[in-house]
């Protein structure tokens, strides 16, 4: 056996030796005029293309760069690695290749840098293909409207701000408010949902990324997830290409007709990295010192999220970009840009967060422009009423602060609303299955929770979920598979919930 495998290896090497062809090619070369801050100006290179790879030859091996500026008699490039060995007058060769990343099925479960090199200490990616980092988004003919849901497993989002496959939904909020938590919970909830996930960390602390990877591993989510990391200590050029590289990896699965979820965490740092590069390349600064094409920077990235029609494979890329605001200022440059590009936003509010409403989703300011077409029928039925109740509660709660004498109807609505707010609270790393969500919402909007004290709601919900799992599993199965809840199911569910309530002693009589 051992001999056999040895022979096999020798045979393979022989094959490669006989296959080896050395080609002598005429190449375009230039000389370094200026280098510093991760930027190089190169003279010569009269045939260089935009975003072509350059090889800087140094005494300690080659460093690669990408062309970003084409000037009259020089070329501006960013370095994709450590540039301290590059000297003025050093030789630069144009490689006649646009920047590409290796893609393939074995990127799942890996932690990679934006160039596809492993960061997890495992072997190199076996590249099935190379995909260009920059690519024009799919056109009108190939697309289809979004009609399938992404189950985030977060009650507040799945009910009120549904996200569909192929949608771009922005997660926006201040620092330390649970933006990443929503993204990670969503990834965890994709288990068994036929979805590949790509998490792109841009300018994050390596410790935070390590924590996320550990959490994903623990939840068994790394089997279908790729993490692309351009850390805080990486050069701005890597931060700049990271989301495009992640998207190229997603496009590999898209082309195979699969559904992909990609998270860009976060695009404010991406814009900052691009600003750094642009200013160093001496492009004129505009508002907040960002260059003129920051809008295009993000629009061309997010346009690559799509839902293709069945003639073109029927795959989808769902993008969840994250934007960090400064002190809740959503009218800054980058947040307004990305809000206008995406199909809706999930707005996280500090006040809600500190009141203990976590996830701190502000249901009033958050929208999903795709709407209920990205919900299953059963969810549509309950969520419509939920949204109405929530809106009424918000209005009344503000109004009720002034008067104490309220009529019966208003009081009831307020009580229901309080319970609703309680129901939307959810712990981190505990996404909930859609069928269970429907059953919980069902019991709320039908008044079955009105007799539960507000401070006991979460306890009640926990118990109820277990009880339904044990006693009404056929209803759950129906919701999951047929995606509707008929009258028979509703009756049965009502009965089961009432049975459960009979076992409790803290109900309001």
């Amino acid at each position: 056996m051992e001999n056999n495998s040895k022979d096999f290896i020798i045979e393979q090497i022989r094959q490669r030796i006989s296959d080896f062809k050395s080609e002598i090619k005429e190449q375009n070369f230039g000389k370094v005029v200026e280098v510093g801050d991760g930027i190089a100006k190169v003279s010569g290179l009269s045939e260089a293309m935009m975003s072509e790879m350059l090889e800087f030859k140094t005494n300690s091996g080659s460093v690669f760069g990408v062309v970003l500026n084409l000037e009259e008699d020089s070329v501006g490039a960013v370095l994709l690695g450590e540039g301290s060995a590059i000297k003025e007058g050093g030789e630069v060769v144009a490689l006649k290749r646009i920047l590409e990343v290796p893609v393939g099925d074995d990127i799942a479960g890996r932690v990679l840098n934006p160039l596809g090199a492993p960061l997890d200490g495992k072997e190199n990616i076996k590249a099935e293909k190379f995909y260009p980092v920059e690519k024009i988004a799919p056109g009108v003919i190939t697309r289809q409207s979004v009609d399938e849901p992404v189950q985030t497993g977060i009650k507040a989002i799945d009910a009120m701000i549904p996200v569909g496959r192929g949608q771009r939904e922005l997660i926006i909020g201040d620092r330390q408010i649970g933006k990443t938590a929503i993204a990670i919970d969503t990834i965890i909830n994709q288990k068994g949902q036929n979805m590949k996930c790509i998490y792109v960390a841009i300018g994050q602390k390596e410790s935070k990324v390590a924590g996320i990877v550990a959490k994903l591993k623990e939840a068994g989510a790394m089997d279908y997830t790729t993490v692309v990391v351009a850390g805080a200590s990486d050069p701005a050029s890597l931060l700049y290409i990271a989301p495009y590289a992640g998207c190229a990896m997603a496009e590999y699965f898209l082309d195979k007709g699969e559904d992909v979820l990609i998270i860009y965490d976060d695009l404010s740092k991406h814009a900052v990295a691009y600003r750094e590069i642009s200013l160093l390349l001496k492009r004129p600064p505009g508002r907040e010192a960002y260059p003129g094409d920051v809008f295009y920077l993000h629009s061309r990235l997010l346009e690559r999220a799509c839902k293709l029609n069945p003639d073109f494979g029927g795959g989808s890329i769902t993008a969840l970009p994250i934007i960090e605001t400064q002190a809740g200022d959503v009218s800054a440059y980058i947040p307004t840009n990305v809000i206008s590009i995406t199909d809706g936003q999930i707005y996280l509010e500090p006040d809600l967060f500190y009141q203990g409403n976590r996830p701190a989703v502000n249901a009033g300011l958050s929208v999903s422009r795709v709407g209920s077409s990205a919900q299953i029928k059963a969810m549509k039925k309950v969520a419509g009423k939920m949204r109405l109740e929530a809106a009424q509660y918000r209005e009344l709660a503000a109004f009720a602060q002034f008067g104490s004498d309220l009529d019966e109807e208003t009081r009831k609505k307020l009580e229901r609303g309080k319970r609703l707010m309680e129901i939307l609270k959810q712990d981190q790393y505990e996404p909930m299955d859609v069928a269970l969500q429907v059953s919980v919402f069902f019991s709320l909007i039908n008044g079955l929770m009105d007799s539960v004290p507000v401070d006991k709601i979460r306890e009640f919900e926990k118990g109820l979920v277990e009880y339904i799992k044990d006693n009404a599993s056929d209803v759950l199965k129906n919701i999951k598979e047929v995606k509707v809840m008929d009258e028979k199911d509703e009756e049965k569910l009502t009965k089961v919930i009432n049975n459960y309530k009979d076992t409790l002693d803290y109900l309001i009589k």
Binding site: I13, R16, K25, E26, N28, F29
Partner: protein, 133 residues
């Protein structure tokens, strides 16, 4: 108005094109005087660079450099020059030779901003890369 190095080079080239001997030296003196007045002497290096480009273009001249592990014999050199004339479509070739043991064998030929690397060193490197990947 800021005058660019390229514009100085063009002016100088046009001014000196048909001049010889003392006339040429006088023109050069005047040119430096102009640079001094304009406070642009620091641009000199760039001006020379652009001037060379203009000169080479006008007289159809290509500067080339060939690096080998040992110096070329005469008939081989004339072969290289005629080859260069063919690929660069220039009438005059100015070739420099360099000896470098590191290329092991073959040659590295540079002309204009093109490079033809036919050295054994390059072949070994690409062979190494093809075995590693």
């Amino acid at each position: 108005m800021k005058i660019k190095a390229k514009q100085y080079a063009q002016a100088l080239f046009l001014e000196t094109r048909d001049k010889k001997g003392d006339d040429l030296l006088k023109t050069l003196d005047k040119f430096f005087e102009v640079l001094k007045v304009d406070n642009n002497l620091s641009q000199l290096e760039k001006i020379v660079f652009y001037f060379n480009n203009l000169w080479n273009k006008e007289y159809s001249l290509v500067e080339a450099e060939i690096t080998c592990s040992r110096f070329l014999e005469n008939d081989l050199r004339s072969d290289v020059v005629s080859y260069l004339k063919k690929i660069s479509q220039a009438e005059n070739i100015e070739i420099k030779e360099k000896e470098d043991k590191k290329v092991i064998g073959g040659f590295v030929l540079k002309y204009g901003d093109k490079i033809i690397d036919a050295s054994i060193k390059n072949k070994i490197n690409s062979f190494k890369n093809s075995l590693l990947n």
